[in-house]
Symmetry: C2
Subunit: 207 residues, 2 copies
């Protein structure tokens, strides 16, 4: 049972990481992790995920600007509602964009030729879902190496897509910060900072 | 490195399983797996996934009927195009609905109160994506116990939602067969049967 129990540990301390040390990630390690992500399940074996590493400073700045704008808008929407949580929201660190050595954008090819359309006729969203499972595979594989990953979703998908100059047929899935975590914890960041807490699973299981 | 290499093995032989032995799955094991799935990442720590185990014969039959209708429509669409692959498509086994001891439907609560909206204002699809990561967590955890899981997406989401009588606010993510696999293989089913093959990852990584 050693492997199963270590797998459970991995699920438990996976975390969304938003603080990173400045240390770089070896290119060979990143390559290996992306190769593992490529083993994820995909509808019709279409492997529709597309990974884009973002190193260019101008492109990173455009993504950072989109995050800043969207996060400010989210904060103002709370203010407008006289939301008591606006102050707490403003203090949360929601992305590690400034410190993470590796920036990765993930897209899905909306209508991949590979897979010949199998399995997605009635549920085209399974293409995006496949890319999400590739992200999750990367997340677990990275964490197993001691790396941390943070998912940045407070972004305008159109702005990011434009900044990265990718094909029109690609659907933006998410933007990811990868690097060596400055903190390891079993407790989710949003729980540590009093925003939200895990709830018992039983409420989500219906028989 | 023993854990990392076993994790890689798990990614490699995870498979979408469509053939099951008749043996049942102990309820305690299923409970434990669903608890693990609940550790998945979620936008704003919203834990928006909803698991519904489907035991009722009438409900199972309704899902089976939807699969049959959608699969027939997919086959006819290929025939209409004089698709040379229609014969091969017709011979593929695309779901283990008749044998799998456990049937599980997964939904996402479209606008979960938990998480207080954090992270999903510009990308509401992250709610569904969170549920997909819970599915993938379940998949890996099940596989680590020797169980197999198969994702059935050849379904009408509205028909399944109606058959299972779930709240209107729930979005259908997928339907899953779980049980003890009749075959274990490193090679994807669709590759074994000549439908599609894995391609090199390099084409999907852009620097």
């Amino acid at each position: 049972m050693a492997f199963q129990s270590r797998l459970v540990d991995l699920f438990r301390w996976r975390r969304d990481v938003r603080g990173f040390k400045p240390d770089s990630v070896a290119p060979e390690l990143l390559d290996r992790l992306l190769d593992l992500a490529d083993l994820a399940p995909s509808v019709g074996l279409s492997q529709p995920w597309r990974f884009v590493t973002v190193d260019d400073a101008v492109r990173r700045a455009a993504v950072r600007a989109s995050f800043t704008a969207c996060n400010q808008a989210a904060l103002e929407a709370r203010d407008a509602d006289a939301d008591a949580d606006a102050g707490l929201y403003a203090r949360l660190k929601l992305a590690g964009l400034d410190e993470a050595p590796v920036h990765l954008a993930v897209f899905a090819e909306a209508e991949p030729a590979q897979g010949r359309g199998l399995g997605r006729a009635t549920m085209p969203e399974t293409v995006a879902y496949s890319a999400v499972m590739a992200v999750h595979t990367l997340w677990l594989a990275a964490r197993a190496e001691g790396l941390g990953l943070g998912w940045v979703s407070i972004l305008d998908p159109l702005a990011v897509t434009a900044a990265l100059d990718v094909p029109q047929s690609w659907v933006f899935i998410g933007y990811f910060c990868l690097g060596w975590p400055s903190l390891n914890s079993h407790t989710p960041e949003l729980e540590r900072h009093g925003w939200e807490r895990r709830r018992s699973a039983s409420a989500r299981i219906h028989r």
